[in-house]
């Protein structure tokens, strides 16, 4: 398994501002992902964070709104830009260790409320 730490765990943000979420893993991992979980809903994949290159975004998510960095195999950031109340969600970092059927592990999440 992998231990995943996210910062901040919670924040209240002003409309129109941007916030960067950090994700640190305790070991080198092949794949890192960012998910969003809107209130009362399930998880939706935002993008795959690629080490040393641009992230791969899922349909409905764009780099201008959710820029992602992954400078090495243990760290990634997700920025939520120009926030609106609709961006109020839990943002979750997850990793795949590449073993046991592509098992994916999640961090504790970052709970953002936009006011």
């Amino acid at each position: 398994s992998a231990v995943i730490s996210q910062k901040p765990s919670r924040d209240i943000c002003q409309r129109g501002t941007s916030l960067t979420i950090q994700c640190q893993v305790d070991s080198q991992v092949t794949m890192m992902f960012w998910y969003r979980q809107q209130p009362g809903q399930s998880l939706t994949l935002i993008a795959t964070a690629n080490q040393g290159s641009e992230a791969t975004y899922e349909s409905g998510f764009v780099i201008d709104k959710f820029p992602i960095s992954r400078p090495n195999l243990t760290f990634s950031t997700l920025t939520v830009s120009n926030m609106s109340p609709e961006d109020s969600s839990i943002y979750l970092c997850s990793v795949s260790t590449g073993v046991t059927g592509n098992t994916i592990y999640f961090g504790e999440g970052s709970w953002l409320t936009v006011v």
Binding site: S1, S42, T44, L92, S94, N102
Partner: protein, 109 residues
């Protein structure tokens, strides 16, 4: 559109009763994972099933992966209040997970 359909959406039972949560899809997955999530926290992995027909048991929890690797079930025996939470199934295709909508389980003492 979610690839995986979970049922039921909500489940409320008395302590000591059994429960089953179903996860169905028309898609084939390389693996399927079950998570439990509590309010304000990230999903915690319960199990990964990989082989069609596979059955895994973790104490009072039994997980089954369908022969065609399109569906799965989670059965809890003698449920306890500590089993309360949101149960999520997720199917993997090329390292990407597609999640079901989740089943909210409440076990009353």
């Amino acid at each position: 559109t979610q690839l995986l359909k979970q049922s039921p959406q909500f489940l409320s039972i008395q302590e000591g009763e059994n429960l089953t949560v179903y996860c169905n899809s028309s898609s084939v997955f390389s693996s399927l994972q079950w998570y439990r999530q509590e309010p304000g926290e990230g999903p915690v992995l319960l199990v990964t099933v990989v082989t069609g027909g596979e059955v895994k048991k973790l104490k009072r929890l039994t997980f089954q992966f369908g022969d065609a690797r399109k569906d799965s079930s989670l059965h809890i025996t003698a449920a306890q209040p500590g089993d309360t939470g949101l149960y999520l199934c997720a199917g993997a295709v090329d390292y990407k997970l597609s999640f079901g909508a989740g089943t909210t389980v409440t076990v009353r003492a």
